[in-house]
Amino acid sequence: MDIILNTGSTVYQGAIIKGGNKFTDGYTREAAYCNINPKDFDALGKPWFVRLTNEYGDSVVVRAKKTNTQQVGEVFVPRGIWANVVVTPETESTGSPKYKNLPIKIEKCEGPVMGPEELMRNYYSKGRKSDFYERTKYLDKKSGQKEH
């Protein structure tokens, strides 16, 4: 189904990213969902999970939420690494990518939703040419500093 994606901040997503908890389950809970109008929700077949796909074919799975806050034909995903998978980098010569009003495709799918580390490794790091630079990035070896 063709639909318009808007991303934006929510207070709980804000508290998690500002609190430095970007590798926690809380981040997945607060940023990896999609608010859908009841009519669109029914048209999609009352899904638990939906797959959002942009014009480049990049896609991400998030939880589906039925809410009255959205208009028909429009969905909302909180700002974060899940939404950014489908956000396209065209800025219309302004520097600001298409965080709002982005035409995408939405479909019902099976879960699960990837956690932040898994998503970064499997999606964002996929295009990495490891032989290009024979070295490791920070999190190739470590997942955090717990000594503090």
Binding site: G8, T94, G95, P97, Y124, G127, Y133
Partner: protein, 476 residues
Amino acid sequence: MNQLSLISEVRPAIKEVIRLEVSQLISNVSKVETVKAKQGKVKCTDVTCTVCGMSCDDIEVLMANDEITTKNACTIGDARFQVLLSHDRIVYPVVYGERQEWMRAVETAADMLIKAKRPLIFLGGETSTEAMAAGIEIAELLGGLVDGNSSICHGPTIMGLQNTGQVGCTLGECRNRSDLSIYWGCNPSESHPRHLSRHSMYNRGFFVEQGSRGRKMIVVDSRLSSTAALADLHVQIKPGSDYELLDALMVALRGEEVNEAVEKVTGVSMDTIDKLVDMVKACKFGVIWMGLGIASTRGKSHNPAIAMRLAQLCNDYTKFVILANRVECNDAGLNQVLTWTTGFPFAVDFSRGYPRYQPGEYTCVDAICRGEVDAVLSISADLGGHLPKKAVERLMNVPVVSIEVSPGPQAFVSDVILPGVIDGMECDGTFYRMDNVPIRARSFTEPPFEFTKSNEDTLRMLLKVIKQKKEDMEGR
């Protein structure tokens, strides 16, 4: 006796108490009263919150050895203060995934940046103004690009401002005078949780003594957001039709006939447009608060430009101003510092030795996606978590030096990570509020490491090393 001299008098005595009771946690408290000193708790008042563009400066922090309690801070602000005692904090430098000594890490970072032909210095919105100035010096020395959070957030708003000019005011004026707030494309109850209660809606102002009963609220948003649910009038537009509605409002405001096609294009009825115009004309002091819904949507910089023209037109009938709800606490600071050092607000290129400005060419996302940038220095920005995937994929293949407080998606793209200091909490710093008023944030604690005192300190060290290395290379 003025406040400053009072503080300096009180300070030595307090420091003594702190050393005894809270063991190195707090060093330099601006205004402190000790509460339950025997139990090792210290109360810091008038602390500045360095999270969102509001830079609330009335926060109270109650610090103990193992917990931090805040008063007046919102959910997001409180989360930021909790980072001070977080166990998940970057406290030592990391180079290629291995722990490294501080100076070795700084030298590696300097090498990466010197080797690059087109380095990008990205100054995050949580960086203090002083650190930003140091970052710009590095960019000038390297002949690189400088950009910051203000380009990926309110960059189009700044461009609109350059085209049209802004009728602005301070938040204090809004608090004391405004009887109509129009939130256009923003949801402050989620993004700036204290916005409504502190500056625009529920507080009692000098000329609006009744508080919320003396104020009206209009929300223009495609969603029924939590702010829209509180509004006197919610204008639910179709996504991407902001320009058309703003244009129609200007026509209606001038008393001319609005084309009926507007209803179909924007999804807003004529009655609603008339009602909105009546409310605008009836108010004594109106404010348009612009959010990212106006700057990031279709039309980009043209939307804020026409919104500013609307505010100018409203001044024919009543007093009206327009302000941008800046996302990060020092988004506006980057525009200020870059403007007074280079003459341009963001997207600056030093490759020819003098500053040039071109949004869409020198802006972070565009330059990275074109594959032009061959090294990145990112300061408190978490580019990995904020940029679109296509841009982050590019970052995976170039050397990236990051100054970060907590591990996050940025760690996946970084080759060198230098531990970041929380500016405004662990070191002093100046932050420009969303109304471009500078707020001096005074530190109330220290960073959990010895090798650097502030992000400015880190960048000055890096600058010194780069300078030295460049001189050595040229000497040879």
